[in-house]
């Protein structure tokens, strides 16, 4: 079997010269995301807002209009209904009830009484006000700590400039992911936080691979201009970047289309994250290094431990 070289070995695309374009694009993306979050708002799920979520299956295709009529006049506030995967399945969302934890439980009973016999309850989730606040706090904590820990790790393994560059790319990925959730009105819940953290992990993974190559080239070509050197590092790792992104996307697409309705938003977030993470590693994390003073002093420092093999190669 003859292997296929998806990306030619001598590929030389001009990423670094076009960096201003990427910066502008990303800047617009981030501003738009923040704007989206503030104007349209995030569609928080019950995990963070408290409330009730019930998935029911009816014997025949559900009459959502009729159900809405049954549920909107029982004094539980704005009940939202949505077809969920199959025409027989309906997802019912009930806002958090005033009156503490007990009121939530009573609301569930009210809904069950209103819907009557004949429907199967596939899922019932009730999150009280107390727990929802804790979950939100823990979620924010997890994301911030993850970013901090990654910054420290990269700083420790590389130079500080790399740490800052990686975190800029990371924050970009996290913000735009949240932005697209606001734009599309997808539910933002615990799974989304998990997806965001995984995106952070994936994006940093990608960035580290390119940075590793940058570090190696810095040692090898001491006279080369930094922009040329960075462009070289990106092109030499491009084949790997593309192939890994493709295999990950293949798996995630299978999950998106076949994994069931419950984790569809989750898989969507990951797919978006892989694409944006790959983009940010190449087009943000690496070109940003130019502006962080990765100057001769830093290069000199790195070059202190010359690899004799590399020097021999360069000749």
């Amino acid at each position: 079997m003859k292997p296929l070289n998806l990306i030619p070995a001598d590929i030389d695309l001009a990423f670094i010269p076009k960096r201003k374009l990427f910066f502008v694009f990303s800047f617009i993306l981030v501003i738009a995301s923040i704007g989206m979050v503030f104007t349209k708002g995030l569609n928080f799920g019950i995990d963070f807002k408290g409330g009730i979520l019930i998935e029911v299956r009816t014997p025949e295709a559900a009459d959502i209009g009729k159900m809405r009529g049954q549920l909107n006049n029982i004094g539980l506030g704005e009940v939202s209904l949505q077809e969920f995967g199959e025409p027989t399945d309906v997802l019912i969302r009930i806002p958090r009830q005033d009156g503490g934890e007990k009121a939530q439980q009573e609301a569930v009973n009210t809904v069950k009484a209103a819907l009557g016999e004949g429907v199967t309850y596939r899922r019932t989730e009730v999150v009280g006000p107390q727990v929802s606040q804790e979950l939100l706090r823990d979620g924010l904590m997890a994301v911030s700590l993850a970013i901090l820990a990654i910054l420290v790790y990269i700083w420790f393994r590389f130079e500080w400039q790399f740490g800052v560059g990686a975190v800029c790319a990371l924050v970009h990925d996290v913000v735009t992911t949240i932005g697209i959730f606001a734009l599309l009105g997808f539910e933002f819940n615990l799974s989304t936080v998990a997806a965001v953290l995984t995106i952070a992990g994936y994006s940093i993974n990608d960035t580290v691979v390119v940075y590793d190559r940058v570090r190696e080239k810095l040692r090898k070509y001491k006279k080369m201009d930094l922009p040329d050197l960075l462009n070289l590092a990106i092109n030499r790792t491009l084949s790997r970047t593309v192939i890994t992104s493709l295999t990950t996307l293949l798996a995630l697409l299978a999950l998106f289309f076949l994994g069931g309705e419950v984790i569809r938003d989750f898989s969507f977030a990951m797919i978006w994250g892989v694409i944006i993470g790959t983009y940010s590693s190449i087009c943000l994390a690496v070109p940003l290094l130019i502006y962080f003073g990765l100057d001769d002093r830093a290069r000199g420092g790195i070059a202190g431990d010359d690899d004799p093999e590399i020097i021999e190669e360069a000749q």
């Binding site: 727990v131 393994r157 953290l197 993974n205 691979v209 295999t247 293949l250 299978a254 999950l255 994994g259």
Partner: protein
């Protein structure tokens, strides 16, 4: 790197074999694995409630209720002590954590201080002006909280066991919370009902000297209390409230058995009960002294019924009538048998998944895994030829290792956990991609196959470790801060990272090196 000593080969094979052995029970029906001898791996992956169906409840013990009750008792004993010594006092009251009393006379205050020290030896007692404050110490509060939660867990377990739920998990979380997991329960209504009652039962004499009407108007005589009748029952004079003595005649703690049955005369559902020796003695005395007077049966602050004592009951057995259905008597006797909760429970969070959705999720997850796996396998074979097939073999071994690890550690596999496995399938080959790309570069630099493979593996290694460790950091944070299903996702992700590093680095190298040594090719098919 091209050197592969025999011991290393044996080790790699052994690890793969162990992984396979632990994964194997998952492919056999459960009744077969249960019959396997215990020295063989016989555990299947522990499925989370979102996959097997069931109900997850997060409960909070209202610890303040226990503390209030304790302080209430402290107020009672302080009052008794002060009265018995004829000390004049006013505003004897409790706050959230303390009891205070004002004693104007300085000599009396000194005396009272001594007396009150004896009431609660552990508490901190202090004087502020003419007021004596008995403050619960932090240690006392913690002790009460710990024992209330511990006791609640015990009572919850007994109540749930009585309902016949199989394999419930009941565990403490944090300071005052309890997680209850009920596999296979898709309507936890009955369990929630049972846990929603503290089931504190007591027998009181009815206050017949004072009128209920007076009490309803706000003039409740000291030593008595006005209690509502339970729905559907009515007290004397057809009112829905009744005046009973505060003093507990016999406590529900003295019950040893309770069973649903029917009344001999009118065939109404009743609960028959039996007291222990002490309870029987007390009950005998009370009923002997109060023939033809009513006594009240009180459950959680409501009066179930207030029958008139017809004759002394000396055997220690009796029955509770009320406006009961058969289900009521079954539940009540269950609650009485299991004992009272020390404090009320609040349901903070409930997540229930029906068996239908769970089964659908497993099926969807399996298909997604399989399709994702096949897609990646084909892609890798196309992209890297022979080397891609080696990576594919490693990928399949990786799946078995993940399954084996999950079964061995008895970690819980959730729906997001399955997503974690699918993601791992995609990312696991990354290490191989890195290595193979590196080998290609080395070949281009003019190295011979063996040197290129050698350099490829060693150069790619640091990158692989760096990139995987960062993902591992994210997984560990997810585990520490995530809850429920998210924890499940972080577990499979973390296990996947570790196993994929092993299979991608060690296993593929074993294949590649073995092939290199056997064929000694002039060029690499890469």
């Amino acid at each position: 790197m091209v050197n592969f000593p025999t011991w290393k080969k044996v080790l790699v094979a052994l690890i793969c074999f162990i992984g396979l052995a632990f994964a194997a029970p998952n492919f056999a029906p459960k009744d077969v694995t249960e019959q396997l001898p215990s020295w063989l791996p016989n555990q299947q992956v522990n499925l989370g409630l979102d996959l097997r169906g069931g109900s997850h409840l997060l409960l909070e013990v209202e610890v303040q209720a226990v503390i209030d009750e304790y302080l209430e008792a402290l107020v009672g004993s302080a009052r008794d002590e002060l009265r018995s010594e004829r000390i004049r006092y006013r505003s004897l009251s409790k706050t959230e954590t303390s009891v205070g009393v004002t004693i104007p006379d300085a000599v009396d205050r000194e005396k009272a201080l001594e007396l009150l020290r004896g009431v609660d030896a552990g508490a901190e007692i202090s004087v502020e002006g003419d007021r004596i404050i008995i403050e619960m110490t932090e240690a006392q509060k913690i002790e009460r909280r710990v024992s209330a939660v511990q006791q609640s867990i015990e009572i919850i377990r007994r109540r749930i066991d009585e309902t016949g739920v199989r394999e419930p998990t009941i565990q403490r979380q944090g300071d005052d919370r309890i997680i209850v997991q009920l596999p296979g329960i898709d309507d936890p209504e009955r369990v929630k009902d049972l846990l929603g009652q503290t089931a504190k039962m007591s027998f009181h004499l009815v206050d017949i000297q004072n009128s209920v009407e007076e009490a309803l108007a706000g003039r409740v005589p000291p030593g008595s209390m006005l209690l509502p009748m339970i729905e559907g029952a009515s007290g004397p004079g057809n009112l829905n409230a009744i005046l009973v003595k505060k003093r507990v005649a016999v406590s529900g703690e003295n019950l040893v058995d309770a069973q649903p049955s029917f009344d001999g005369r009118d065939n109404q559902p009743v609960v028959s009960f039996r007291f222990d020796t002490l309870g029987a003695k007390k009950f005998g005395k009370i009923t002997t002294d109060n023939v033809r007077r009513p006594f009240a049966i009180v459950l959680d602050g409501q009066v179930l019924s207030a029958p008139v004592i017809q004759e002394p009951i000396l055997g220690g057995a009796g029955q509770i009538s009320g406006n009961f259905s058969v289900q009521n008597t079954q539940d009540l006797s269950l609650l009485l048998r299991a004992g009272a909760l020390p404090a009320p429970l609040t349901i903070l969070e409930e997540r229930t998944v029906g068996p239908g959705l769970g089964a659908d999720s497993i099926a969807a997850g399996e298909i997604a895994c399989l399709v994702g796996l096949i897609a990646v396998i084909i892609f890798m074979a196309i992209a890297y030829g022979r080397f891609g097939i080696y990576a594919d073999l490693a990928l399949m071994a990786n799946i078995f290792l993940i399954l084996g690890m999950l079964s061995m550690l008895q970690a819980t596999l959730t729906l997001p956990g399955i997503a974690g496995i699918v993601l791992t399938i995609g990312m696991a080959v990354d290490a191989n991609v890195l290595i193979f790309e590196r080998i290609r570069e080395e070949v281009r630099l003019g190295r011979n196959p063996i040197a290129a493979v050698d350099a490829g593996y060693s150069r790619a290694l640091t990158t692989i470790i760096d990139s995987n460790l960062t993902t591992l950091i994210a997984a560990i944070l997810l585990f520490s801060f995530g809850s429920g299903p998210i924890k499940g996702f972080s577990v499979t992700l973390a296990i996947g990272i570790v196993t994929s590093m092993f299979t991608a680095i060690m296993l593929t190298r074993l294949f590649v090196v073995t092939w290199l040594r056997a064929k000694r090719p002039d060029t690499l098919p890469l």
